[in-house]
């Protein structure tokens, strides 16, 4: 077939389809999201979002036990959520091949940390495969399914942002049939009671020795001899591409694709054949530690940064220092500085209404945030919350936070804020405990009917699933009521109605104990919402405007102070949501487009 330009995520989907993957599940998370979105377009594979990564991996592991080739995909921090099933599946092994994709994010392009999930493979005692470009994503995921079945192990398929989101040429292969393996009851393998687990642990250790033996000769691990053996480089994943770019054909490479268990013999052979040994890897010194354990001195993390994303320039500066090629004319004058341009809540975003109402009560509340678009509300001018740690942590951490504040005599009410998708992901247990323990917390669910930040994936609250089937939407408010919280402590508001939203917040502040506000309005970028708002905008009456700049405090990208006047700068951007009209004390802003 003709080569096609695919991202790593698209190529993983293609490869999984070719491998006969029959069941796939994921929770959306940058940079992994597009794997399932693309896999769902192929036939013969049942693709669904799980409400969190643990659920997604458990859907996949159940399918594997049942005899299907199965895949679960998630971002790196998602694997923390799914670590529980991963670590025990290592003991149990598989029936149908099981591949777990972890998409790491060195450089924190879209994440709260840059953890290196290669370290999970030895902990979970599962095989690990790392691709370095899109074609390897396709071929290695096929190899990963085969490896999983051949060695009776789940395979951790570890990608990084630049592998996931770079496009390179792929030659599509021929798909095999999703041949199902027979399911036979086998409690000695899959029912991990202590007596079984003790036996399985020994078996895993034996399996890993066999896997390491295989890794020494696997085509996924290869030596590329250069024109010289002066410099030898051990590398894997995207770091291989950077190393090739910098050191070219002059150096020799041990390019590792099967990176747990690491191939000791192959590493020894390579290390003994070169004069100087470099280990080039992004993140933790994972390969370097092994090389040193084998007794070889090498240059690794002393020159290659531990923090941040790697690129060829960084390697060049570290290993081949020379005057930087950057810069233009000599003795050029200093340039003006570009203003910061942080990502912001979109014009018309319902979250802006919620944060605007909350901001008017700043003296009485402390906000606690979570992971999602609404996390952007931490920035000025909204400054809607004080901290955010990880998915679903706002409700649960607010229980302890409110306790600590109360104990120090701080009377402010804690408002814990998360979105609908995060609520389903891991917010529900926190809500249950807040209600059950009588925590003095207002739990706020910013329900915009979709997983917005990652590009509009379905949630359990939507009426369609990933494959386009009509499904039962799970009712957020009914779930809240099911905790037993009295109805007078539950409010459902439209966040673009500032008066109503503010009134609900005032009730929550006044009430001692748990309170819930469901702030409900669909994301403004949803296609049908955007369509319904077409041709609507607001405009400023310059005769009435007194330049008080209240409208600028909502942080809307559509309204600006330009040449001494407040203007709706871009009527295409403005959705006519009317929030600026509500905060204007002089009635100077009105609807310009068709009136709703």
């Amino acid at each position: 077939m003709k080569p096609v330009l695919l991202s790593g995520d698209e190529a993983v989907a293609r490869g999984a389809h070719e491998a006969g993957c029959a069941v796939a599940a994921a929770y959306p998370g940058t940079p992994s999201t597009e794997i399932l979105e693309n896999l769902a377009r192929y036939e013969n594979v049942w693709c669904q979002w799980g409400s969190n990564e643990k659920v997604a991996l458990e859907i996949a592991l159940g399918a594997s036990i049942g005899g299907a080739r199965a895949l679960a995909a998630m971002k790196h921090v998602g694997l923390n959520v799914a670590a529980d099933p991963l670590l025990s599946m290592g003991y149990a092994g598989v029936n149908g091949g099981l591949v777990v994709v972890s998409a790491d994010d060195p450089g924190c392009h879209s994440s709260q940390n840059e953890q290196d999930n290669r370290l999970y493979a030895p902990l979970a005692k599962v095989a690990m495969v790392e691709p370095s470009d899109s074609e390897e994503c396709r071929t290695y995921i096929r190899a990963a399914f085969d490896l999983s079945e051949a060695f009776d192990t789940p395979v951790l398929f570890r990608m990084t942002t630049r592998v996931c989101h770079s496009k390179s040429l792929v030659v599509p292969g021929v798909p095999r049939d999703p041949a199902m393996k027979p399911y036979v009851r086998n409690t000695g393998k899959f029912a991990l009671l202590p007596t079984v687990a003790r036996v399985r642990h020994r078996l895993v250790e034996e399996k890993l020795l066999a896997l390491e033996e295989y890794a020494n000769t696997s085509p996924l691990n290869r030596i590329e001899w250069g024109t010289s053996r002066e410099v030898g480089i051990i590398t894997s994943g995207i770091a291989y591409q950077h190393a090739r770019e910098v050191f070219g054909d002059g150096a020799s490479y041990l390019k590792l694709g099967l990176t747990f268990p690491l191939p000791s013999k192959l590493i020894r052979t390579f290390a003994r054949s070169v004069s100087r040994l470099y280990v080039i890897e992004e993140g933790e010194p994972y390969l370097e530690t092994k090389v040193r354990l084998l007794g070889f001195d090498c240059i690794g993390k002393e020159l290659v940064p531990l923090c941040g994303e790697l690129d060829a320039g960084i390697l060049r500066a570290a290993f081949l220092p020379q005057p930087s090629p950057a810069g233009q004319k000599e003795d050029a004058p200093a340039l003006p500085v570009a203003p910061p341009r942080p990502p912001v809540l979109c014009a018309g975003c319902p979250h802006r209404g919620f944060y605007t109402a909350l901001g008017k009560r700043k003296k009485s509340v402390v906000g606690v945030g979570d992971i999602g678009c609404y996390g952007l509300g931490v920035n000025p001018p909204l400054e809607g919350f004080d901290y955010s740690i990880c998915m679903g942590s706002s409700f649960s951490s607010a229980i302890g936070f409110s306790r600590a504040l109360a104990q120090s005599g701080d009377a402010r009410k804690v408002f814990a804020i998360l979105g609908d998708s995060t609520f389903f992901h891991s917010g529900i247990p926190g809500l249950v405990d807040a209600v059950h323990l009588g925590a003095n917390v207002c739990c706020c669910i910013l329900d915009n009917r979709i997983t917005a930040m990652t590009g509009h994936q379905e949630t359990p609250g939507t009426a369609r699933d990933l494959m386009g089937n009509e499904v039962v939407p799970v009712d957020v408010v009914a779930l809240v009521k099911a905790t037993g919280l009295p109805e007078e402590r539950i409010r459902v508001v439209d966040p673009l109605d500032l008066a109503a939203t503010g009134a609900a917040m005032d009730e929550a502040i006044a009430a001692q104990g748990p309170f819930v506000i469901v702030s409900r309005r669909p994301c403004v970028l949803l296609k049908d919402v955007a369509k319904s708002l077409e041709g609507q905008w607001c405009e400023v009456d310059q005769k009435l405007c007194r330049q008080c700049r209240q409208c600028l405090k909502i942080g809307c990208p559509a309204i600006a102070s330009k040449e001494g006047r407040i203007v709706i700068d871009d009527p295409v951007l403005c959705t006519g949501c009317g929030l600026c009209m509500q905060v204007c004390p002089f009635g100077a802003i009105r609807k310009g487009g068709s009136v709703r």
Partner: protein, 196 residues
């Protein structure tokens, strides 16, 4: 491809300006012309009105997908202040194509920061090869502000001498059907654009 084996293009702008779509079409055209191509984009959080960049490398054989500081042969800024932000990525002797369109970031809107003045003048004192491409203005004249990206694509194809690919077919394939005609027109206007 005289001299060096590869070319690095960096497209920068503001989330929502269509830099990714432009890069997709440009990359596919380069594949059709027989080059090895890698294109790298960052999405997720940066989409929401933040500073965005996409990177295209093409040549005989490409390894690393991303372009570091001082490595871009061509820097294409869809917005004026973004040209300043990404200028350090341009290599010495590289070309800067700049659309003088201004999009104020929220810190400027709220008065926490100021939008820089005399950007084009300052950059022209520093960059040897600066080309001003008023693509947003052309797109506005066509009644389709969103087609700024296709004007710039047309301009790039001319600038790079890549006319050999079926660019119009690619544009038609990648843009939404209802916006096809105006985008094709935008591409044509861009290809004929005189850059100073």
């Amino acid at each position: 491809m005289s001299g060096r084996e590869e070319r690095n293009i960096l497209l920068v702008g503001v989330g929502g300006q269509g830099t990714i779509l432009t890069s997709k079409i440009l990359s596919q055209g380069l594949v059709d012309l027989g080059y090895d191509v890698k294109m790298s984009e960052i999405h997720g959080m940066a989409q929401r009105g933040g500073s965005v960049s996409t990177q295209i490398k093409y040549g005989r054989k490409i390894y690393a997908p991303n372009i570091g500081p001082g490595e871009a042969d061509l820097l294409v800024a869809f917005e004026k202040a973004e040209a300043l932000r990404w200028f350090p990525w341009l290599r010495k002797g590289g070309i800067l194509v700049l659309d003088p369109r201004e999009i104020y970031p929220v810190p400027v809107l709220t008065g926490a920061a100021t939008y820089p003045e005399n950007v084009v003048e300052s950059l022209s004192a520093v960059v040897e090869n600066l080309r001003v491409a008023p693509a947003a203005k052309v797109a506005n004249e066509l009644g389709s502000p969103r087609s700024q990206n296709m004007v710039l694509l047309g301009a790039l194809v001319s600038l790079l001498g890549l006319e050999g690919a079926a660019w119009k077919d690619l544009v038609a394939r990648f843009v939404p059907p209802k916006a096809r005609d105006v985008n094709l027109l935008a591409f044509e206007r861009g290809a004929a654009l005189v850059m100073r």
